[in-house]
Amino acid sequence: MSRVGLGPRAIAALIAAVGIVLTCLGSWTLARGDAASEHRILKVQTGQAASVLSAAVTVIEQPLSTALSVLQVAGPDDGSAFTEFITPYVGSKKPFVSASLWKRQGDGLTRLATTGAAPTLDPSSDEAREFVRHAYDSTGTTIRLLAAGGRNLLLWGKADPRTGLAVYAERVMPADRQASVAANSAYSGLHYAMYVGHRADSTSLLSTDVEPASLPMSGYTTRATIPFGDTDVTLVTEARTHLGSALSRWLPLGVLIGGLLLTVIAALTGLRLARGRRDAEQNATTITALYERVDNLYGQQRELFERLQRALLPHVHPTMPDLEIASKYVAGAHGTEIGGDWYSVVALDEHRFGFVVGDVSGRGVDTVAVMAQARFTVRAYLMDGDEPAVALEKCSRQFDITSDGHMTTVIAGVGDVRTGEVMLASAGHPAPLLLNGTASTVQVPPGVPLGIGPARYEQTAFQLDRGATLFCFTDGLVERRGEAIDLGLDRLAATLGEACDRAVDELVAHAVDTLRSPDASDDIAVLALRRVGA
């Protein structure tokens, strides 16, 4: 028996594959959740940073607007009022390094006052003219980024169309545009890069906390746009470190490692269980095979015994004039050892015949041996001319149950086909039936079975008419567990009484088929003798 199925290794591999897939899926899902959460937190923090930046721009811008308002009150040309107001905002560590007041007259520009350093922007340059024109044309603040003299300057300009005055200020940005971020500030968790306008290129870079050469930022970035005078500042951020909880950050890795460990354990356990099952199945197969072999051997032994038994039974009955003979032997049901039932018919002379039916108690090959001995002994005495009672008496001296453990019941008879006279003696054997239109028991007083010791036997004589049948049998035909023996005998008489007219071999077959119980453990021997002729 071979089972088609997965081998232990295949099962372990399957478990490992499923485990790895589940682990990776779980870990990936958690990692994605963490990334989404990181992105959300980054957006929130960037929004906060943008608000701070927006407020800072307003703070820087405010003095310029206020200065123009002051001049509306003090008089358009009052340079000293401008200087007085703007000075606190100019200098190192102040919003501006340089601030100046200008007035447009026709196409020309006149500088009315200057505080701090001299303006870096050349008033006569095209850049300056374009900047001023833009400042006069717009209502808000004009802001430009200017790289000049190795410095990065942020130019601020705001004009008042009613007075024709304009305020111009310059703010210095770090030369490498790099500025560190103070702890606890809105930017503390972020790397950032600010660009003037909407393009994130190096020329527009306003400020960053990372090495400018490493820009633009890659990875998860977030953008925010803040109004910045007449233009905008684009704030690009990425997370400096993991923003969310440590659990959220390490859980995917933990799940991955734990899952893989569990997968290995599960695969090893699966391998062990599968091997155990395979071994158990192999053991079961071996045991089954052994049982089959034992069963087979038993069958062979039984077959051998049955052949021995049949070899000891006559294959052919003697041919006698006016005598029909039929017989049958049936072994006990499968699973039981063979028994010691037999029958025998012998021609004594032209007209006389001897017959025997016997049953050795017990089972097995030694029973068959006793049976063989009994069969040939009784037969020999009958052939020698002894009457049945004498033959049995002589036999009784030759069998001893205390030495061989067996007891033998025998019915022995001698008949004459011319006269129909039959002599009969029984050594503890069930009496035969006489079928002559009806079935009746032949009254033959039973002596003790062979094996009990020397005994004497009574002999009965009766007439076997032409057409009548003498039916001899062993107890296996009538004996049933839990039933009185007389019930079985009555059943046999009834069955035979109804079948008197059948041919003698049919009669025998019918009786055995009808009366034998399917689970009968005992064997059965039947011999029927019918006297025929005119």
Partner: protein, 104 residues
């Protein structure tokens, strides 16, 4: 299945009570239980058959072997023999061999 129990009767007999089926499957156990009784000093060995439900030729053979094994001075007595068992003994020609019986 055969059931076997030994005891001592009121008259000092060594009693072997048999129940169930005394057949080829029970013969070995029967003889094994009977062996100590044969070796005892009891003058009477009694086999109580009141609860025997089936007796086949092997069982009869076992009774015969016990009967023949009783030593000088010992005798075998069957007690409470059911009618079915008595009938089987009769058909087997053994009524006289087991003539020693009691019903109390």
């Amino acid at each position: 299945m055969v059931g076997l129990a030994t005891s001592t009767g009121p008259d000092g007999a060594a009693v072997l009570a048999v129940s169930g089926d005394l057949d080829i499957a029970g013969v070995a156990a029967f003889l094994e239980h009977a062996q100590p009784l044969l070796q005892s000093d009891a003058a009477v060995i009694e086999v109580d058959l009141r609860d025997v439900t089936f007796l086949d030729s092997s069982g009869i053979g076992a009774l015969v072997r016990l009967r023949k094994a009783t030593a000088d001075g010992q005798r075998l007595r069957l007690s409470h023999v059911p009618a079915s068992v008595a009938r089987v003994l009769e058909l087997t020609g053994l009524t006289d061999l087991f003539a020693d019986r009691s019903d109390w």
